[in-house]
């Protein structure tokens, strides 16, 4: 991973961002944060409908179809900006515990979202309000929110990876 990181940092794209990093990295990060806002906002709105705390004038399928296209677009934007940040500073990500924990949580979060879309999409009538009142559904919804909050925490902790002590492969400790 160390050699791979070093190799990435010698590529043209990496050097380009490194040479302009003073404005480029905060800008790419800011776009990344806007993307996070779209994801967490979309997840929250669908969760509110599942938990029957809002959007009750709309069916669950309608709320999902309102927000999931934005969720998809934001995930793509996050992947692109995330990749740019990784290419610019490969060791910062690849040699941190937080980054890999974040990637694992994203896989889980997207897995839950995909499963949700396919079940709601196939059985719209089944997901009536009685089904939504089930404790297991409510628990799963709260867990999904926790997963995405966890993604945000892990993302920020990349800059503070030293807090993981011996779990952190690098000595990075500069807060950015």
């Amino acid at each position: 991973m160390k050699n791979f990181s070093e190799w990435i940092s010698t590529t043209f794209l990496s050097l380009f961002i490194q040479n302009n990093q003073a404005w480029m990295i905060p800008t790419i990060q800011s776009v990344h944060i806007v993307g996070i806002s779209v994801v967490i906002g979309s997840i929250l709105m669908v969760a509110l409908r599942v938990l029957r705390l809002g959007w009750m004038d709309q069916s669950l399928a309608a709320v999902q179809s309102r927000f999931f296209p934005w969720l998809k677009g934001a995930i793509i934007a996050l992947a692109v900006t995330g990749a740019l940040l990784l290419v610019a500073e490969p060791a910062r990500e690849l040699m941190s515990f937080s980054f890999w924990a974040k990637m694992a949580l994203i896989v889980i979060g997207l897995g839950i979202a995909t499963a949700f879309v396919s079940t709601v999409g196939r059985n719209e009538a089944v997901w009536d309000d009685n089904r939504l009142k089930q404790g297991s559904i409510k628990l799963a919804t709260v867990l999904t929110l926790c997963v995405w909050v966890g993604v945000i925490f892990m993302g920020r902790l990349i800059a503070y990876d030293h807090v993981w002590g011996s779990l952190s492969p690098s000595n990075h400790s500069e807060p950015k």
């Binding site: 800011s30 906002g41 909050v149 925490f153 993302g155 950015k176």
Partner: protein, 194 residues
């Protein structure tokens, strides 16, 4: 008592000292701050997109806003609390920081924009609830909102690159040091003062 005295007094609080020195406190506060701010921006975005007639147009503005506004306020309160707890670790540095000042001004402008919208625009155009795009003043407020809040995010990010919550003590200046000696001689530089 000057304002600087107040800032220094805040820096000396036990809670300030704790957050400054603890391993996990500042990183966790900053992470929580990101969760809250993304919820603020995310919920405001939904409302602004409705005003612009881009999304959620099958709902009236009133119905949409009443669902969302409590979450925006909850998230904003969380952002202010976590922000304040970070601020107190190094008040003078943050207060002097230009991006921080810009962020505070942008926040004020965003708040003012929301106030004007709620108190004037919305009342004047009571009937727009059912239409796709809102009347022009409301759309202007929506665009302003998005620009201002994006600015808050950008300025906030730059604060992180231009400050530290750790008060760094500069090493004491060495005595009788002539820097030209380093140019002309092979003598090693003196060890840094501990």
């Amino acid at each position: 008592m000057t304002f600087t005295d107040i800032l220094n007094a805040v820096a000396a609080w036990a809670v300030s000292d704790y957050i400054r020195g603890a391993l996990l406190a500042f990183p966790l506060l900053e992470s929580a701050h990101v969760v809250f701010l993304t919820l603020v921006f995310g919920t405001i975005l939904i409302v602004d997109l409705r005003l612009l007639g881009v999304a959620s147009i099958n709902r009236t503005f009133g119905a949409l806003e009443s669902d969302i506004i409590k979450w925006t306020w909850f998230a904003f309160a969380g952002a202010v609390l976590t922000g304040a707890l970070m601020f107190i670790t190094n008040p003078t540095v943050y207060f002097e920081n230009v991006p921080f000042r810009i962020k505070m001004i942008l926040l004020l402008c965003a708040g003012l924009n929301m106030l004007i919208f709620e108190q004037f625009t919305r009342r004047k155009y009571k009937d727009f609830e059912g239409t796709a795009a809102a009347p022009r003043p409301a759309r202007i407020a929506a665009v302003l909102s998005l620009v201002l809040w994006t600015g808050v995010i950008g300025a906030g990010r730059v604060i992180g690159f231009t400050t530290s919550h750790v008060a760094v003590a500069l090493p004491p200046a060495a005595e009788n040091l002539d820097f030209d000696d380093f140019l002309t001689s092979d003598a090693p530089a003196p060890a840094p003062a501990q």
